[in-house]
């Protein structure tokens, strides 16, 4: 498979599977996949029968049929409950997965993996699924669980409070090692920051500033500065309108209240509202929700890809019509339709002439 192809590019971040030599781990891994999208749960929820799915997946499925996709027990959107334990498990598995994957895929390299732990974590970081863009995580697996709360906020720029690298390897203050990527020698404690910055030279951090920085950072936390993006997520689910009764104006006002495009006819509007409610409501079922801006971008992207599909179809059609073969085939395919239309017009004209009414078009 050529993974450089644009179509497949979206799928390159699929997680690598575990080798069949470790069936137990394969089973553990499989059990954390949503049965609908076949990816790791994102915002997992449970329905009354006890089955769990991604919030987005089951909400979409319940719109098509009001049953559990696995066991056909009746289910409805109102009965969806967040599964916080499962979410925690999936989150920790997502962090642990690259490490365990490294261990299983090459036992002989075990030692070197242990040594280049940060490197592996870095690789994992770059292949992470989009919802993880909110990482301001440390690379040390031990520390990761403790700074969970920071995930809600945005980019690494908003990184609040403690530098995650400060207490990594405190004991080895003066030990030097070479970077696994570019082989430059530097103190061990700087390596992970160096890799995260794309192998830029690391300036020694001024130690004296520590206290003031901490103070300023805490100030930021209390003033809510680091949470700007999370702030506009209201914690209320949108109630679905009745799409068959709603007027285009009503749909437009819903869209307007969320700053969405109000362009298009009623089916297009209804589709947009539906998709938005799906995105919005499922976004409330996770402990690392995205900002409304990110959701909007996602909605636009989906619409753009749909439009692209449409245009692609048209282009294909047009290029087909350009070839004489294609034209002949098109004529063949639509011959019946053409004949029907021709007959209809002939009959209509005949009727007009027959009834003696003044035909608006003179037929010679």
């Amino acid at each position: 498979m050529d993974l450089n192809h644009p179509l497949l590019a979206s799928a390159v971040d699929l997680l690598p599977p575990f080798p069949s030599s470790h069936p137990q781990i394969q089973r553990l891994d499989r059990s954390l996949y949503c049965q609908i999208c076949k990816e790791l749960f994102s915002g997992p929820v449970s329905i009354p029968c006890g089955h769990s799915f991604c919030s987005r997946c089951i909400r979409g499925s319940l719109e098509v049929m009001k049953k559990c996709p696995s066991c056909n027990e009746p289910a409805s959107e109102g009965s969806i409950r967040r599964n916080r334990a499962l979410e925690e498990i999936v989150d920790s598995w997502e962090e642990a997965r690259p490490i365990i994957h490294g261990l299983t895929s090459n036992n002989s390299r075990k030692r070197s993996i242990m040594n280049t732990g940060p490197k592996n974590a870095f690789a994992a970081e770059s292949t992470k699924r989009p919802r993880k863009e909110s990482t301001s995580r440390s690379v040390s697996p031990v520390k990761q669980s403790s700074d969970k709360k920071e995930e809600i906020d945005g980019d690494a720029d908003d990184m609040i409070a403690l530098d995650p690298y400060t207490n990594m390897a405190e004991s080895s203050e003066d030990v030097k090692a070479s970077c696994p990527l570019c082989d430059i020698t530097m103190p061990i404690r700087d390596i992970s920051r160096h890799i995260d910055l794309g192998c830029q030279p690391i300036k020694p951090r001024p130690k004296s500033q520590g206290r003031e920085n901490l103070k300023a950072d805490w100030k930021k936390v209390f003033s809510g500065a680091g949470l700007v993006k999370g702030k506009d997520v209201e914690l209320k689910k949108i109630t679905k309108p009745n799409y068959s009764l709603a007027t285009p104006a009503e749909l437009r006002s819903v869209l307007q209240s969320y700053n969405l495009s109000t362009f298009g006819d009623k089916p297009a509007l209804a589709h947009r509202v539906q998709e938005w409610i799906l995105l919005y409501n499922s976004n409330l079922d996770t402990s690392h929700p995205k900002s409304l801006g990110a959701l909007r971008a996602k909605l636009n992207e989906a619409e753009a890809s749909r439009r692209r599909d449409k245009e692609k179809g048209r282009e294909e059609m047009a290029s087909e019509l350009k070839t004489s073969d294609g034209l002949a085939r098109y004529a063949q395919d639509t011959k019946g339709e053409f004949e029907r239309l021709r007959r209809e017009i002939m009959e209509r004209d005949k009727k007009r002439v027959g009834s003696g009414a003044e035909a608006p078009i003179e037929i010679e």
Binding site: M1, I36, C37, P69
Partner: protein, 179 residues
């Protein structure tokens, strides 16, 4: 024709199909089935090759089928069309497979099939192809697609099997004379 283009998000479907494709390649179904997208430009069209199950008149044949996925896959099932059409009670004369697992949840007004046999998003290419394999071995004439073929199967099974074998041979390019 211009308007027939899908108007739903394709990326979800594409992603899921990528995943299914990778899983099928990594862990082949059985030796008797392979499947994959025809071209990388369009993940929504696959080709499947199925080997006729042993102990059935289809034994020895290799049948190719087209899988056509809707843009809202996996919420709705895909279509499976044998090319060229295969003689079988549950395959329409145009080659389309009629099997309950490929029927959308909401289009059975007669309530003929129980809901548990219908499509649901947890199904996938793998489970459907396995069902088709068992369908080849055991036709279901109660809900036939090809009525003539159903009748033949019910009234004169030997003739049915002879015709199938003949078809298998001609598909493989072997005629009676060369044997």
């Amino acid at each position: 024709m211009f308007g027939s283009n899908p108007r739903a998000q394709s990326s979800t479907a594409t992603r899921r199909l990528m995943k299914e494709y990778r899983d099928i390649t990594a862990d082949p179904l059985q030796d008797s089935i392979t499947a994959g997208p025809i071209s990388e430009d369009n993940m929504l069209e696959w080709e499947a090759l199925i080997q006729g199950p042993e102990g059935t008149p289809y034994e020895g044949g290799i049948f190719s089928a087209k899988l056509i996925f809707p843009p809202d896959y996996p919420l709705n099932p895909f279509k499976m069309i044998f090319e060229p059409p295969l003689l079988h009670p549950n395959i329409y004369p145009n080659g389309e497979v009629c099997i309950s697992i490929l029927h959308a949840p909401g289009d059975d007004p007669l309530r003929y099939e129980s809901a548990s046999e219908r499509w649901s998003p947890v199904q996938g290419v793998r489970s459907v192809l396995l069902s088709v394999l068992s369908m080849l071995a055991e036709p279901n004439i109660e809900s036939g697609a090809n009525v003539e073929c159903c009748k033949l199967y019910r009234d004169n099974k030997q003739e049915f099997e002879r015709q199938v074998r003949e078809q298998v041979k001609s598909l493989l390019g072997i005629t009676e004379n060369t044997e």
